[in-house]
Symmetry: C2
Amino acid sequence: MKQIKLKLDKRSYPISINSDFGNLAYQLKKLNLPNKAIIVTMESLDKLYRVDLIDILDKGGFNVFIEVIPDSESSKSLSQLNISINNITRHIGSEPFFLIAFGGGVVGDLSGFIASIYKRGVRYVQIPTTLLAQVDSSIGGKVGIDLETGKNLVGAFYQPELVYSNISILKTLPDRELQSGMAEVIKYGVIKDRGLFELTESLAAREEDTLFNKIKPGIEEIVHKCSLIKSSVVSRDEKDSHGIRAILNFGHTVGHAIEAASNYSESYTHGEAISIGMLCAVEVSNKLKITKEDILTRLESLLGFYNLPVVMTGINTDRVISAFWYDKKFIKGTPRMVLPVKIGNVKIIDDISMDVVKEVIKGRTR
Amino acid sequence: MKQIKLKLDKRSYPISINSDFGNLAYQLKKLNLPNKAIIVTMESLDKLYRVDLIDILDKGGFNVFIEVIPDSESSKSLSQLNISINNITRHIGSEPFFLIAFGGGVVGDLSGFIASIYKRGVRYVQIPTTLLAQVDSSIGGKVGIDLETGKNLVGAFYQPELVYSNISILKTLPDRELQSGMAEVIKYGVIKDRGLFELTESLAAREEDTLFNKIKPGIEEIVHKCSLIKSSVVSRDEKDSHGIRAILNFGHTVGHAIEAASNYSESYTHGEAISIGMLCAVEVSNKLKITKEDILTRLESLLGFYNLPVVMTGINTDRVISAFWYDKKFIKGTPRMVLPVKIGNVKIIDDISMDVVKEVIKGRTR
């Protein structure tokens, strides 16, 4: 078990990295929460873990109700929010309770947003079950849902009181989801931690039958190191207003544009989109002579090892470029991007010529 | 023009009380807002003030878009929130903007909530157009909407950057709405300001053809004094967590129960419900020997002067009592109420016997 503290004055909270759920009830009891717990989770997870979780929480003295949402990205919606909140209220009446987000990014974002607005705020805990959620989305309090006119269009900054990661749960993840998480892990390596980047390289070289087995010897260190980086960034720039949290967007400006241009379809997972996005950022960095070493070859080969795409296919380049323009990270009409100097070190650059970006995006399209 | 400052460190803001809109553009310009303004308002207000407002803001250098919502209490809903946010996004794209809530409590609560969640928070300003909104709901950042399972079930504490009250706008209000606002004004008198209470008494005695004309000589002082009390309470207890903001709930525990028991129908406006609620609280206070003077006769006669109800009719007492139980202000199973000691001074009492409350509610039912 490893533990990190995300420091935010009175709203500081622990991130606990475990190999099972043995420590969960103890961690919850330390928080002095109401004894009624509402777990929000997805159908597939509910089937796998309902019995275990209820048993653990029951023994810890908690009274549990489970709100199950459909297994779909489209559960991050206003209509699901409405259904879930009404279900919770019908169950709980006016009793005090706390909320547990048990799932990946969709569950964490939806439940965290529910926690932030329910009676103007109830206490909540994140139990992330995907690699992406463990290393990224469960930490830092960015929660929200999608509306017809925009992804994550409404949301809040609302911190959980505990993030409890159980790494053994990752072995049940489909390979594609694990790969997607690895893209974020590699991102952390590039922006802040050369050692982490090299760890992902050495794991990639291992011969194993499954991706989980390949990364297994390093998985605890991976989740720990990424959680440390994310925590440190968030505690210095909780609301993304000081240009510090922005470095987490390495690969995301083009990545989001790819997701938008493919209508957030199954064609590209978030991790796959930022895989291409990171390579685009490195190429822009090369063109602007910001990189001080050959990152491109090394990153491209690493991403390939994890079965992540290095070019985009079947996608309209003009749509990617116009989605890039539209992105909310734009500053005064010129693109802002996070560009690597070397592995472990990035810069935020504001005045990038759109021509350079276009050229790079076109070059990564087949 | 009178100006108050609501003090909340970096989120302090002015409350400006005016007799027209002449000062609005100046006040807005001082805030260094984006130049795109989105006004959220109701149909009836849009018809009356669209031309004036656009003209004023236009001259102030603002680019205005108006989002009109239906004239109804039911506009404080998730479906209206969805419609309005999508309209705003379609209009504004990814440009920066600020929001103006131009209306009564429904507009203020909905727009403030939209401001709090749109892209995790956009800046906003309140221009309250009812007496109730000017003296109460526009100040203090409590925003939210209703869901099927509860009024104000989801919301936020999200402060505006300016509250601009134009008292001349109140002359277009229907009498019933003005009366409803007077109930809140009288509430402020009882909880904090004997002089304000006496002012409402002296205005009540005036012979005039309309309610607006009756209170006209005192209206600026009324809005000013109430805004001062609300500001002072909010700045000491923004999130209603220190038992200070709770005094604003005088008359509201029973009042909310009356509203709930009548399904928030037209039978009782908020002000009418708290009129009866205040009298119930005084009677509880009398029974517990907390009152030090005869408030009951004086308050009952004052409310009557403003055409506010002093007993409830056509309502099921048992429903009122069970709604009272359900109320979120309950502490550990016993009712918490704000009880007057004398005019201008109240106490929060936690362990009130339910029998006393029941008896009082029954005594006020015909």
